[in-house]
Amino acid sequence: MALLDIRNLSVRVGPGRDALTVVDRISLTVNEGRILALVGASGSGKSLLMQAVMMLRRDNISYSADRFKLDGEDLLKIPSRKRRRIIGQNISFIMQDPRQSLDPTMKIRDQIYEVMPRIPWYHVLSRLKNFFRRTRSKTAAALLHRSGIRDHERILGSYPAQLSDVECQKIMLAIALASKPRILLLDEPVVNLETASRLQVLKLLDRCAKNDRTAVVVICNDLASVYNFADEFAFMYAGQIVERGSRDRILNNPRHPYTASLIRTMLELGRNGRLKRYLPVLSGKHPDYRSMPVGCRFGARCRRARRECNREPEMIISKNEQYRCHFPLEDGALYEDE
């Protein structure tokens, strides 16, 4: 059974009647021990979807869903206070900008202690207090070490403003792992990192998934940086998931034209050959949420679009593939089309 099971989640942004539906009826299942990469253009609603999964309250943003089950428990039917506790205990979320998520007035040490399980009061009263203090700092150092930081003492004693972006990102990872989450959501964790640190972070995520059976959802707008590590891919376009499937299937036989275009761009860039050649790009623009096209949202940029595409395609779900297209690409069509 899926660890997280969401049906028809919609996110509306804006006040009252003028609200725009940005994330439109998305169904998402997240499995234990798997890495799911959520790939899509900027502005396709990936970050909003993650915030909706965390049920973060924000001004002007409202969520609705038909089903929201975490480990078999329906979160829509329980009081919000309890719901927030369950989500907080089970899901960790790293936002896009690590520097903004860290408290600038607290030392890193205290920020990590804050999320670690509390020391029971009887231990604090007893002489064991110092013992637990020590284990706590050891655990904090171990967490930092795990996420690829070598000089713990300096990091633990400093404020976020004294550290670089990369260190902040790794600290956020350590903080997210401190509460031993069952689901880890990351919003573009590697985008600002250099290749060596990227590898470190991705390998850490891999270990989390394989050893601790954590379900990892990585948002990434770049296919190339995650494709060695993800087990599954979900592609988002204009607030909808357009294709989902296992890594090998997607990379070899994409069904949706948008997926195919991303893979083609990646391959073309990675190809050894003549310098200074133009890359294939999609023509047109990502649709505006204020004036969403009727029917298939990718239709305006799709070369295969026909009259039937004026009708909105349903999600076609078969055994190992899910896609939302009237005219899916056949096997091997990736390299012949266009």
Binding site: G40, A41, S42, G43, Q96, D97, S164, V166, E188, V191, N192, L193, E194, T195, A196, S197, R198, L199, N221, D222, L223, A224, Y227, N228, D248, L251, N252, S261, L262, I263, R264, T265, M266, L267, E268, L269, G270, R271, L275, K276, R277, Y278, L279, P280, V281, L282, K285, D288, L334, Y335, E338
Partner: protein, 279 residues
């Protein structure tokens, strides 16, 4: 300004953060040490290196955001002090953090207008035309001009900062990490745009990125930095096919062998079969 002068020439540039005299005495750490190179007109360059190798500082020095501690930078054969307008007009920077680099209180139209107002004597209609052209160039709808930065998505904000750099028709675009954080389609678009600008208008670019595939495609020259020192500088293709220094070798190894090895056998068929795309 003679036509024979290189586009940009750095000679013996050192940089360290400004600090109080006592720390300068006891902990004189240079972020950049003795950087010298020159770039000819129409050539584009990429800077690669590890974190804290001083890539960002190098870009900021060229853009004039930082002052070199020692050494000097010549823009088309002149120092910035001799001809400050030249640097401001022709060496345009794209900032890494698009949220803080765009003024939240101004509409996009006004953000793009400011460089035109300062540097050119265009009237209102010409300015608006130029803004519309530039927005088209970076694949943004013209309706965006009336909006505020907070109403845009991250990617759109990035494109707006790109448009701001392009709006004066500069000779060089300086981009610090901004290109690699675009989504793939937009990155390909920007990459094509840079190539087109290079070929048609001879606008060169100096970029820092960790994406060596991108570097190979758009840059003529490659500069490899290691802890503030140049370890390798030369033709991109030469360095990427036969790196001489351990730093460059390590970067390449990391990128190609570890970072991409698994998928290669899956994609081998694809790599061979992808046809060339003409535009």
């Amino acid at each position: 300004m003679n036509s024979g002068d290189p586009l940009i020439r750095l000679s013996g540039v050192c940089y360290r953060e400004h600090s109080p005299w006592f720390s300068r005495l006891f902990r004189a750490e240079y972020i950049l040490k003795d950087i010298s190179f020159s770039l000819e007109d129409g050539e584009s360059m990429a800077v690669v290196g590890d974190e804290d190798s001083g890539k960002s500082e190098l870009i900021a020095l060229i853009a004039g955001l930082l002052e070199p501690t020692r050494g000097r930078i010549l823009y088309s054969g002149q120092t910035a002090a001799a001809n400050p307008r030249n640097r401001a007009r022709n060496f345009r920077m794209i900032f890494q953090d698009q949220e803080t680099s765009l003024n939240r209180k101004l509409r996009i139209r006004d953000i793009l207008q400011i460089p035109l107002l300062i540097n050119t004597g265009m009237d209102r209609r010409e300015r608006l035309e130029r803004i519309a052209d530039t927005l088209n160039l970076v694949d943004l709808p013209e309706s965006i001009a009336g909006r505020y930065p907070s109403e845009l998505s991250h990617g759109q904000m990035k494109r707006v900062s790109f448009a701001r750099a392009l709006i004066l028709n500069p000779r060089v675009i300086l981009a610090d990490k901004s290109i690699s954080s675009f989504d793939p389609n937009l990155r390909a678009h920007i990459c094509n745009m840079l190539l087109r600008l290079q070929k048609e208008r001879r606008i060169s670019s100096i970029i820092t990125t960790s994406d060596l595939d991108l570097v190979r495609n758009i840059s003529d020259r490659l500069l490899v930095l290691d802890r503030g020192e140049i370890v390798e500088f030369g033709d991109t293709r030469k360095i990427l096919s036969a790196p001489q220094s351990p730093t460059a070798t390590r970067l390449l190894m990391n990128y190609y062998n570890e970072y991409r090895c698994d998928a290669d056998h899956v994609l081998e068929r694809g790599r061979k079969a992808v046809k060339h795309h003409e535009f």
